[in-house]
Amino acid sequence: MSQHEKSQNFLSKIKSNRKKRFSEDSVFRATVLLIACNIFIILGLIIFKITQGAWLSIQTYGIKFLWGTTWQPFPPDPTVPPSFGALPLIWGTLITSAIALLLGVPISLGIALALSEFAPKSFNYIISFFVELLAAIPSVIYGLWGIFILIPFLQNNLYPQLQATLGFLPFFQGTIRGSSVLTGGIILAIMIIPTVSAISRDVFAAVPNSQREAIIALGATRWEKARIVMGYGRSGVIGAIMLGLGRAVGETMAITMVIGNSFNMFTSLFEPGATLASIVANEFTEASSPPVYISALMEAGLILFALAIAVNASARLVIWRSTRKIKEAEML
């Protein structure tokens, strides 16, 4: 058979199969779409079940749950009903996440810039490997390391120094405790570094080389080149930060082990605190009675869920708006 006959043969086969292929296509398409739609079902069921579980607490405490500051599942006087309010938990979640971003983001951006702009290839490879290794460590290991190595180090070395130099600020006053909000924030900062730096690195790597060549041709220094790269990848970097924030907000095990677990409207970062995730981790296992107790923990979970969705949604919004701006700028 000649080459020509072979291809003719093949073409006629395809033609004869066209009808069958069409039906196969539509079946495949429908199946894949159905599988994709599962995500709505799963998300919907999660929201439904958590809300259902939290309903008793929502009915009992209403909106006041958000700014109540007592958490008393078993009041000393048995005739008094239990009372729950989540403000110290929300406060703890927000502050520890803020510390994590404040400390973690500059380091992550530094890593990402070094990798994409400055480092030689071999060095690049090693650093990427270790950063990704950091992401693979289970969070309970971070917690153990936090308790046995990080806390003693911070408490004996860094914190007294910090208080000596910045002690005039209200959030560095009071007795220094190792298990504290600041330690929680530091652990979270370490944990978000892999996420933020890996995504930022990819974002910087995706900046077209023409941009770099153009700015260098204009006589820019390396720092100026890095600034252009950062500006170009801004939306991606914000997305990376938001993903890091998402991890910080929801992190449970490690922070439970180092934050000090105190239901406390802290002002000093050396005080112990608690987060929405940590209270669920601590109290859910044996919370059998009263029913409103489980429900209140569920509501804490629901707030956490809402917070996570809000973080993600705002990340999308920021990315969407800044990409639109860039596109507009390019069109001019």
Binding site: W71, F74, F263, E271, S278, N282, E283
Partner: protein, 370 residues
């Protein structure tokens, strides 16, 4: 060659072989007796040691799950396990929901104040009132006169006390705060006794005994409370506590056994409600308790008096279960001190013997060897 036929034949042969083996193992081998239990985490290591030894001895397999006392009582009441285990005795409401429950003390636990003060070894004296004041932050410095008067000779630092407690829901917290509530009305009215306490702010919560011990170890001038076995096994300073007779008693396996012996004088009958025993041994009205450590409690096995109330139980299973419990409170106690558990004193064992003789299956007494 038709591969389909070969594949189908192979599948049929394989399925037949598996089915045949299943039938064979069901009918032609001795089926082992398997018992299930669930409940308190505190006695879980001891019960697991017992299961291993008992299986070597008798072939009976005991699967125990440490899911917490509350869960144990729930599963026992719903009759989904052969026996339950709980640190506190059943409350009156729980007891009436599970009529015919027998309480069998299987081991003794104690809660111990631990502290970390530079230059002060173990053995600092505490009274219930002082502990209540410290944990409610009414005493805030170590050199407070209330601490100093019960510790003549100790040079206590002029330093802020850092209070550490359990952050997870815990029977240890319940035992400790029950003691504080009985010793101090201020404590009782402000915090009460429960598995989870609304602790004063600025106190540090640690997860589990290891979490509290780590918090105490890391924070200078701190105080916390842990299970006795944990204090004995980890190298940490722990204090003496004043008992009802006014003595400051060091927590040891012996002083806890003394407390249990004293308590055995006022224990209810095995088939009655044990709610009156409470979360810890209140020995205010008991003589001969001079050397009893005050913050001690039993851990209980819960079993039905008439074993046929649980579906699927056979005479063999009933005999195995009763035998296991009998063995656990007698020979099984030899394994206790090796794992830092307190062996039951003879008075409690005798009390348990009477309880175990009450067990019946279809109206017949089960432990005919006793």
């Amino acid at each position: 060659m038709n591969y389909k036929i070969i594949a189908v034949t192979e599948t049929i042969i394989l399925a037949a072989a598996i089915a045949g083996f299943a039938v064979y193992s069901m009918y032609f081998t001795n089926q082992p007796i398997i018992l299930s239990g669930a409940g308190a985490t505190f006695p879980a290591p001891l019960i697991q040691k017992w299961s291993a030894e008992f299986k070597d001895m008798t072939g009976v397999q005991i699967n125990y799950e440490g899911i917490g006392s509350g869960g144990g009582v729930k599963q026992f009441t719903e009759k989904t396990v052969d026996f339950g285990a709980s640190d506190p005795p059943m409350k009156d409401s729980e007891f009436s929901a599970a009529p015919g429950t027998l309480h069998i003390p299987i081991t003794i636990g104690g809660v111990v104040p631990i502290y970390n003060i530079q230059g002060i070894p173990k053995g600092l004296n505490f009274s219930g009132q002082v502990l209540a004041d410290i944990f409610s932050l009414n005493i805030t410095r170590w050199n407070d006169p209330k601490i100093a008067t019960i510790n003549p000779g100790a040079t206590l630092p002029d330093a802020e006390i850092i209070v550490c407690h359990r952050s997870d829901s815990s029977g240890t917290t319940k035992v400790f705060t029950s003691f504080l509530s009985d010793e101090s009305t201020t404590w009782k009215n402000a915090y009460g006794a429960a598995n989870v306490i609304n602790w004063p702010p600025q106190t540090i919560g640690g997860k589990g005994n290891p979490g509290v011990a780590a918090a105490v170890r890391q924070n200078p001038n701190s105080i916390g409370y842990v299970e006795l076995s944990y204090a004995l096994e980890s190298n940490i300073s722990y204090g003496k506590v004043q008992n009802a007779a006014g003595h400051f008693v060091e927590p040891t396996l012996e002083t806890l056994a003394v407390a249990a012996s004293a308590m055995s004088l006022i224990l209810p009958s095995g088939d009655a409600s044990w709610a009156s025993v409470g979360s810890y041994f209140n020995l205010h009205n008991v003589d001969d308790a001079d050397n009893a450590y005050p913050i001690a409690s039993f851990s209980y096995a819960l079993v039905y008096k008439e074993l046929n109330v649980r579906a699927g139980i056979t005479l063999d299973k009933a005999r195995a279960l009763t035998w296991f419990l009998w063995w656990a409170v007698h020979d099984g106690q030899h394994y206790a001190s090796g794992l830092s558990y307190v062996p039951l004193p003879q008075a409690v064992v005798t009390h348990n013997e009477a309880t175990l003789r009450m067990i019946t299956f279809n109206g017949q007494q089960v432990n005919d060897w006793a």
